[in-house]
């Protein structure tokens, strides 16, 4: 909330309320992870590698959730991300397997698809004044349908198909050995994939954009109050368009990272991904009404949902649908908290 620097004194209450949400998120993550460590210590939950695995599996989600945060800051929403990821994965998988295109060309193509996708959605939202939800819901259907148009079967990327892409997916970056755990004979060094580093770079980049660039500040202003932003002479429409383009580009990038993790393309892929991204952003303290939010919170939101999934998986006996229910319950709690904070703020003001 750096644009409040000038008005820091007046908006102190609001800032503290928003920081509280972020604080709750971080504390919740630590408590949840610690509980997991205590309950499932025998199943290897305490290993540092478990934590890194959460990052590896969710590298794509981190990028997507960052883009989602930017859109939600303007007061919009983008529920087409899951379908866009499925389409990206299918383009990559089908392009490599059946059309024998190079990995680099396909990655560039996927990014271009992201830009076009975002421009189309952003244009409809910003310049045609259509509700973001309806536009992106149509996008969601379009993406899922296009995935089926490209190929209705499940396509896997194997080593024979594209050595370069396979190499990217299986590159390991070893961390110092003392962080690892004792194997049978010697310490096993923990590792991460390059995708994690790319995803974290995206988080840092978006953090700086939101905090220190003009575009980032305008995003907050538009989300806070569109009318006053317009009266200040800010270009509301252009900002919204850019937010949607940014979201779709980050989503395409996340789709590539996701594909590196799964190495397949199929119609049913990444279903409900939009929900995970929205949940992560909301749990991380982004207000659905816009104007308040932070990618650091979003990162922790992703980690929380990742931890839930990891806990359910480590347990082994619980049905996988429990992870969905837990995420929805958390989402519910955080939405209620937001409503309560908004109510308190309103009462204080009046």
């Amino acid at each position: 909330m750096a644009n409040n620097r000038q008005t820091a004194v007046r908006s102190k209450k609001r800032v503290s309320g928003n920081n509280l949400l972020l604080l709750i998120t971080i504390v919740l993550f630590i408590v949840m992870y610690a509980a997991g460590c205590i309950v499932y210590s025998a199943k290897g939950f305490t290993h540092f590698q478990t934590f890194l695995n959460i990052l590896i599996t969710n590298a794509g989600l981190i990028c997507v959730a960052c883009g989602m945060t930017c859109v939600m800051l303007t007061g919009g929403i983008d529920i087409s991300v899951g379908s866009l990821i499925a389409m990206d994965c299918m383009i990559l998988a089908d392009g490599m397997t059946n059309k024998h295109w190079g990995a680099i060309q396909l990655v560039i193509f996927v990014m271009i698809v992201g830009v076009v996708w975002g421009s189309a959605q952003g244009f409809l939202v910003a310049y045609m004044n259509i509700q973001p939800f309806i536009v992106t819901m149509a996008g969601m259907f379009f993406g899922r349908g296009m995935t089926a148009v490209i190929n209705t079967e499940q396509v896997s990327i194997t080593q024979d198909v594209n050595k370069l892409f396979y190499g990217w997916a299986n590159a390991k970056i070893k961390l110092p050995e003392f962080l690892g755990y004792m194997g049978k004979k010697h310490r096993i060094a923990p590792f991460i994939r390059p995708s994690v580093i790319l995803a974290l770079l995206v988080v840092v980049l978006i953090f700086f954009i939101l905090r220190y660039t003009k575009f980032g500040r305008v995003l907050y202003a538009v989300g806070g109050n569109e009318t006053s932003a317009a009266m200040m002479g800010l270009n509301v429409r252009k900002t919204k368009l850019c937010a949607y383009i940014l979201s779709s580009v980050l989503c395409s990038f996340g789709g590539i990272l996701y594909c590196l993790n799964t190495m397949t393309g199929s119609v049913q892929q990444a279903k409900g991904f939009e929900m995970d991204a929205i949940a992560a952003a909301v749990i991380g303290g982004t207000l659905l009404t816009g104007g308040v939010g932070n990618v650091i919170g979003t990162l922790f939101g992703v980690l929380i949902t990742g931890t839930i999934n990891s806990l359910v998986m480590t347990n082994g006996k619980l049905l996988s649908s429990w992870a969905n229910i837990m995420t929805a319950a958390l989402l519910c709690i955080f939405i209620l908290l937001q409503a309560i904070f908004a109510y308190i703020k309103k009462r204080r003001e009046s």
């Binding site: 309806i134 819901m137 149509a138 996008g139 349908g145 969905n324 929805a328 989402l331 409503a339 908004a342």
Partner: protein, 350 residues
């Protein structure tokens, strides 16, 4: 002639019915057999009957969705998932928890159906509470059930598909003995009649429109606007429950992953096709129902043309975008300006 035409064009049902006729015309050229209705094995048989039959769920959902959109200018995106939840709940009661395939039932069918309806009503009530009392954006509040309902349904079914191979259970979704008309059509007619009676015989319709047009003004006039909003969401949930039970009876099973998939989109689309504004306020229930059958006609046509079910969302998405763009004030204004310019040009020429 011109006068009647312009009068006809101003009818609220003109556009929806025109679209339905257009869709049916495509079939007339492609395959005239589309319109043949025959009696086979004592029941009606034909593509038109199929459209009416398969469109039942969408029509029932459209009844609820129309009210929700009218009252809150937001959409209930949980209806599809709630359908799955209601089906799972009802089948769980009928089959007994943990059984996957039964030939007899442990509770009377009426109890199962009522339990299914109650699950729908309950979800609708929770959605209604969040929207009306806690003032959460409708799409976000229903997003929680959008994720959670299917997962809860899976839990109720012990993560399996329950089959009820019991003849009377199939009546609801197929045919009653000695009745040539498919039962879903009869149920839909019944629900529409009840809805019309409730809306027209009480002042509910006027209240809903009043709250939708201006929430605050209605409250000042003495209407309990929160209550009206809550009732609409509850009705929508109940409709979703009814649609879920029909969908479940059709396939005499509870498949929580696939029942009602994408139906939230279809129901919203039906309302939009019916000429209702997605910004709330005045509504036209008959239009929504015509819209629902139009969607089913489109889907049946696509299927008859050989487009796979996976690919048909592409056409749906394009249709949605076209409809909302045509409905949007920006587009209307642009058209108006064009018309004025043309008229002026015509005058100058004369």
């Amino acid at each position: 002639m011109k006068e009647t035409w312009s009068k006809l064009r101003k009818q609220p049902l003109f556009m929806p019915i025109l679209m339905l006729i257009l869709v049916l015309l495509i079939n007339l050229f492609k395959d005239p057999g589309f319109f043949s209705i025959a009696v086979k094995n004592g029941v009606l048989y034909g593509r038109l009957i199929d459209v009416l039959n398969r469109g039942s769920e969408i029509a029932i959902l459209a009844v609820g969705q129309t009210l929700v959109i009218a009252v809150s200018a937001g959409t209930d995106i949980s209806v599809g998932s709630v359908m799955a939840l209601a089906a799972s709940g009802g089948c769980m009661v009928l089959a007994g928890y943990g059984n996957t395939s039964v030939t007899g039932i442990v509770a009377p069918i009426a109890v199962g159906v009522i339990v299914g309806l109650l699950f729908g009503l309950g979800s609708g009530c929770i959605n209604g509470l969040m929207v009306s009392k806690l003032k959460i954006q409708p799409m976000v509040a229903t997003l929680i059930f959008f994720t959670a309902a299917r997962a809860i349904g899976l839990l109720l079914c012990n993560n399996q598909i329950i089959y009820i191979r019991y003849e009377p259970y199939k009546y609801l979704g197929n045919f009653l003995p000695h009745v040539p008309i498919p039962t879903p059509i009869l149920v839909t007619i019944l629900i529409i009649i009840i809805a019309q009676l409730v809306l027209k015989r009480t002042s509910l319709e006027m209240y809903i429109q009043s709250v939708g047009i201006n929430n605050r003004a209605s409250r000042i006039c003495g209407i309990n606007s929160d209550m009206i909003c809550f009732i609409c969401y509850a009705i929508c949930g109940l409709c979703a429950g009814a649609a879920g039970m029909i969908a479940s009876s059709r396939i005499y099973s509870a498949d929580s992953n696939n029942i009602g998939l994408n139906y939230e989109m279809y129901s919203i689309l039906a309302v939009a096709l019916g000429g209702n504004s997605l910004a709330g306020g005045k509504f036209n229930m008959a239009g929504s129902i015509v819209g629902a059958y139009t969607i089913q006609a489109i889907m049946t046509t696509l299927l008859a043309l050989g487009v796979s079910t996976d690919q048909s969302p592409v056409f749906m998405a394009i249709l949605v975008i076209l409809i909302v763009v045509i409905q949007s004030p920006v587009f209307k204004k642009w058209m108006e300006e064009r018309r004025v310019r043309r008229a002026e040009a015509g005058k100058e020429a004369a």
